[in-house]
């Protein structure tokens, strides 16, 4: 066995098969690869899961538009061959709302991180969920501000260390999936990077769902969260995430004290409710007889058209 290993390592011009590329690499910009993410970062895994969910939902790739804010996770649309908007910090959801209202036929997908979505853009998140706009939001939660040097974020668990919390974090974390479910979103789920297949299934459901769908994926950050919390390698972080997950159906009889360090995983909400762009179109049909208000502002006889 050992001799075989040595053979493989020395061989640098190893014979490539006919199509020596991973299946989802055709959606990516190959001239940009390998990407900028650290070794073992969860963002690359989430790119794969998104494509698997997209293929299973039978969605045309050319109809997808991606919006992102600022952060590690918001660099993902830069590597994908589709129309994308890279916007200001925390305002990805408001830009996405504008995009969706102006062209309701697009499939708008928002990639945000926990710092982008929960801290500076927290208000936008709640109100997007309240109005139930037809967006798919994929929130990549790595429990720390990874891009700026390991500061404590609103979702970092109690007792974890960071560069702004050298004696441990004393605050309670945000539970994003529960927060968005309470705000009125129609599809909410939380998975981790260990359960990739389930996450892909959730993304498929979120893309098909008509309304605000929020998928939180807890991912690993070995470079900053892991290094400060005695989990230096990605494998160790993965094991930690795997050991601390609980499926939502098993938590009914558990106390709050028992659930303190756990990651509750599963589908939180799956329902239907009236949607924002449909409401707008109904309003414009009642008043102007046309689907969208977009054209009516440019008409010369704007007031006569009112009948």
């Amino acid at each position: 066995m050992v001799d075989e290993i040595d053979e493989y390592t020395i061989d640098d011009d190893f014979e490539k098969p006919k199509r020596a590329k991973a299946p989802f690499i055709k959606y990516l910009r190959e001239d940009r690869l390998p990407h900028i993410f650290c070794p073992g970062c969860g963002n690359g895994t989430i790119i794969n899961t998104f494509f698997k969910g997209m293929e299973e939902a039978n969605i045309d790739f050319e109809n997808v538009a991606m919006v992102s804010g600022i952060g590690c996770s918001s660099r993902i649309p830069g590597y994908i061959k589709c129309d994308s908007l890279h916007t200001t910090h925390g305002r990805a959801l408001s830009f996405a709302t504008g995009l969706k209202v102006s062209n309701p036929d697009l499939d708008v997908v928002v990639f945000t991180g926990d710092g982008d979505c929960a801290s500076i853009g927290g208000n936008h998140l709640i109100h997007a969920a309240r109005r139930n706009i037809n967006l798919t939001v994929i929130c990549i939660n790595n429990n720390i501000y990874g891009m700026t040097g390991g500061q404590i974020s609103p979702t970092s668990p109690k007792g974890s260390y960071g560069s702004t919390a050298p004696y441990g974090n004393r605050d309670k974390p945000f539970h994003l999936a529960e927060l968005v479910a309470a705000a009125g979103a129609t599809y909410v789920a939380r998975w981790t990077t260990v359960q990739v297949e389930s996450a892909a299934k959730s993304i498929e459901k979120g893309l098909k769902n008509k309304g605000f769908s929020f998928i939180e994926i807890v991912s690993q950050c070995p470079t900053y969260f892991g290094r400060k919390n005695k989990m230096k390698t990605p494998v160790k972080m993965m094991d930690h995430i795997k050991n601390s997950t609980i499926y939502i159906n098993n938590t009914k009889l558990m106390s709050e004290h028992e659930l303190a360090d756990k990651i509750v995983v599963g589908e939180f909400v799956d329902k239907s409710a009236p949607e924002f762009t449909d409401n707008l179109q109904e309003l414009s049909k009642e008043n102007y007889g046309d689907k969208t208000l977009r054209r009516s502002a440019f008409l010369k006889n704007f007031d006569e058209n009112k009948e």
Binding site: A22, I25, L33, E56
Partner: protein, 88 residues
């Protein structure tokens, strides 16, 4: 056959950890970039589940296309009709 792209792999070894069939082992020597590549030494045990391919953060792993989880028996794609339209 399992192929690992040495240009894309960054050596996080998540595939070695997650494989249920223990297909991969870690190389003894580092390659040109200083990365200890995972090597599919126990390839006969592979179940073609595609978990490592989905999980790989750097899109470096390719499993044999004929036995692939998203291929049908008559060489058609299993789900998306738009899959073949995009030219890579």
């Amino acid at each position: 056959m399992i192929y690992i792209d040495p240009d894309l792999c960054k050596g996080c070894l998540l595939c070695v950890n997650t494989c249920n069939a223990h297909v991969f082992t870690v190389a003894k020597k580092a390659n040109k970039k200083g990365v200890f590549l995972p090597i599919p030494t126990n390839e006969n045990a592979c179940l073609n589940c595609g978990e490592c391919e989905l999980l790989c953060p750097d899109q470096a792993i390719l499993i044999d296309i004929e036995k692939h989880w998203w291929m049908k028996k008559d060489n058609n794609y299993a789900f998306n009709p738009n899959f073949s339209k995009i030219k890579g």
